[in-house]
Structures are given as structure tokens and as C-alpha cells.
Amino acid sequence: MIHKYKLSGYNVLLDTNSGGVHIIDDLTYDMLDNVQPPFEDKCPDSIINKLSKVYDKEEIAECYNEIVSLYNDKILFAEDDYEKFALTSVASPIKAMCLHIAHDCNLRCKYCFASTGDYKEGRMLMSLETGKKAIDFLIEKSGDRKFLEVDFFGGEPTLNFEVVKQIVEYARSRESEANKKFRFTITTNGILLTDDMIEYINKEMNNVVLSIDGRKEVNDRLRVRADGSGSYDTILPKFKKLIAARGNDKDWYVRGTYTKYNLDFSNDVMHLFDQGFEQISVEPVMADPKMPYAITQADLPRIFDEYEELMKKITEVRKAGKFINFFHFMLDLDQGPCAIKRLRGCGCGNEYVAIAPNGDVYPCHQFVGIEDYKMGSLHDGSFNDELKNTFAAAHVYSKPECKKCWAKFFCSGGCNANNYIYAGDIHNAYKLSCEIQKKRLECAILMKALTMLDTAE
């Protein structure tokens, strides 16, 4: 399977199954509409005749030979023979967990998928006892995995920060005896961050995710307090302080959401960069299409243009010798994860689970509160292995759209939760997010290809 596209004056060709990326001229671009394996020893006359209206005959023959040679090298029209690996990581150990430490929030962000923090289940904080059981559960289910990831999530985790600290302490106390190493992440809206919390987070959390949408007017339109007031002026200085004090050995990023209200979101990315945040994630809102802020099909052309705009802005920043990392343009074309990992993306419900404040286990944070997807409970020790197997089997070959999609080894089958919520089944691709994903990938592949060309030359 191949995918070719024109972007910013370049013709890009991706060979899906090998991961080969090529920059091609117009002739190759047009020829690829006319040829596919099996190939002949030399360019068939029918193709020469067809293309010679525009191109030189000798060049056409030459180009054909180049295509054939890449095919023989197996980096063009490579075969799709990964399906047999789709079963290899079935019944994997669980290695990552999202702890819903607080189903409560001090903001009322209008687009919140967690229904402003309580997941429609009522406001509730996780107890230390439940947190400890969660750590025990993860250790027990993690088999031979040494590195275990725990993400403190909410609602807003700082509303239950003492318990966060005690859970970390408990997990650390079990590390050596269980031969595990915990990596903690916390996601926060910043409102309650104190100097003590910042110090603690910078010491104990391997990663911290700071929620902010970008420009003040954009952030404050949707990220509001219960009284309707915006959060920007409170959080910005705190985030700056946290980053300034954070060691280089630890990860962090700011993450925002764009909606129909700021389809010019490249300005928000740049705003965050100008404020000193160079690790940036800004993502489309996923919401009921009836909501006024929801992104719909009609917005796609505008969004595609905006990603191109963003690509230009980021390229300029880098040309000026500065560092910026926009998460969704990050791509490794040489040393990425193995093909097997790429079949199954997030691993939710299989390698990754979420724990609700009451100790219920779900496939991931977005399934929390959806009764049909409850996997068990820490308190009665129940765990539905059958449901775990269902998720283990949700790979790109069991998702009909993904199977034939050129982006499958980059996207890995999208988000199961969004598929379920917006397309009715974890196996049905959610088209809107696919379109956005594919556009981002096209930009990311070109940007990476151009940098690699630059370094090579």
C-alpha cells in the first residue's frame, strides 16, 4: 500500500508497510497512478504513450526503472505481512494505570469529557486505601514488566494532593521488594498549585501535564471557574514557575484543546511558545457534534489549512535556531517503535487501565463511568479477563477501516474510547478524528523528511 500527497510544493510518497518515505518528482507522482506490481522488465509502451504527452520518453523509462528498483529493495509496495503478529501481545501484563484521584474539579471547562470532573457519577475523592490497593493490583498484574507508569488524573488531582503524596510514598516503599520502578505523571489545571506542590511535583513526577488552551481570550472562554471567570491569569504564572524550577531530566508539557471557537489555533501554539513553553500539545476537542464548540466535518478544510500554517510557523522557529516541540508533529522515521507495538497503540484495557475513586476498574480514563465497560473492582478483587482479551484483540487488523488505511502504522487504530462513544464500537474508526490525524501525519512526515534531507546534504 502506498500513499502519496502534495504539500508545500513537495510530492511525498509513503510506503505504508515498510515505512519508507520518499520525495518524488511530478513524473513519478503521475506514474504511480498507472503502475503497481507485478512489474515488467522495462516500462510498458502503454504507459510511455500515456505519459509522453507531458513527459520525455527516456525519462519515463528511467523513472519506471527507479520504481522497480525500490520495489525490489522492498521499500515500495512492500507486502503487508504483520497480521500474524497481531496475536503476539495478547494477554500482556498491565504496565500503566490512570488513577482518578479526584472526581471533582475547581474549574467548569465547558468541553470537559468528564462532565466537569465528576464523570456523571457524583463528586468523590479517592481514599488512600483504594490508592494502595491500586498499586498492589498493578504490581500483581504487571508480570515481568519492570517500569510501571502511574498517572494521577481527575477531575483535578491537586484537590486530593495529600493522598497523591501518600500513594507515591507507598508505591516507592514497594519498589525494591517487588523489583519495579514507578514513573509518575500528574495532570493539573494549575489553579491550586502552591510552591510546595511545585517542589513536590518536580521532585517526584517524571512527567507533568499542564492544561492551558493558549491565548487568554481562548483559554478563558471555555476554561472557566464555577462563577464563569477565566483561569488564565491564575495559572500562567504558576506554570511558568513550575517549568523554571523543573530539572532537564524530567518531562513536562503544556496541553490545550482547540475547538470551533479557535480554528486559528496555530496562534495558540505560538502564544504558548512565546510564553516560554516549548513542549506543546494542542488537540482538537472531541465532543457531541450538537455542542456549539464542537468541530464538525465542515470545519475540516479550515483545520487542514491551519496545520499547514502551523507547520510553517514551527519551521521558522527552528530555522531561527530555537527549540520547539509540537507533540503531534513529532515523528521518528528511522528508529520508531517496532511494527508490533504499532498494531495496537494505546493498549487500553490490556496493558493500561484506569481506576475510579471508588476502586472500579475500567479500560481507560475515557471509559470510566460507562457501566458496560467496567472491568472489575479493587475491593472485591474481581477482574474481567474476557474484556481484557477483547481489548487485546482490538488491533489495526480487527478494525475494518484501519486495515485498509495508509496511516495505520503511525496511528495504530485511533482511540478506542472515541470509536465507542462517537462511532458506536471500539472497532469503528471515528472518521472526523481520522481525517485530522491523517492531515497531521502528512505534515509531520514532510517536516521530518525535509529535516533529514537537510542533514544528509
Partner: protein
């Protein structure tokens, strides 16, 4: 080559042969969390 410039040393095939150890990070693909493309992750296989 004149018409085609190959950018990377494509390696998905090779990676499949020795891959699948499962040591790499979990990676949420959804907008509400990181939504990193998987393709950007590091392989953590110990050689």
C-alpha cells in the same frame, strides 16, 4: 536516483522480526491526554 529521493532506511519489516517485547511506554492516542502518535515513541528493548 534522479526521480525519487528516499529519505529513511525503512525498517518496519526488521523491527517486526525482533520486536514485540512490550517494554515501551503506554501511549494514549486520545485528544484528552497526550495523543502522541505511537510512531514517535522510543523503543526500550534492551539489546
Amino acid at each position: 536516483m534522479k526521480h525519487i529521493k528516499t529519505i529513511n532506511k525503512a525498517n518496519l519489516k526488521k523491527s517486526a522480526a525482533k520486536g514485540g517485547c512490550g517494554k515501551c511506554q503506554a501511549s494514549c492516542q486520545s485528544a484528552c491526554k497526550t495523543s502522541c502518535t505511537v510512531a514517535n515513541q522510543k523503543c526500550e528493548r534492551e539489546a
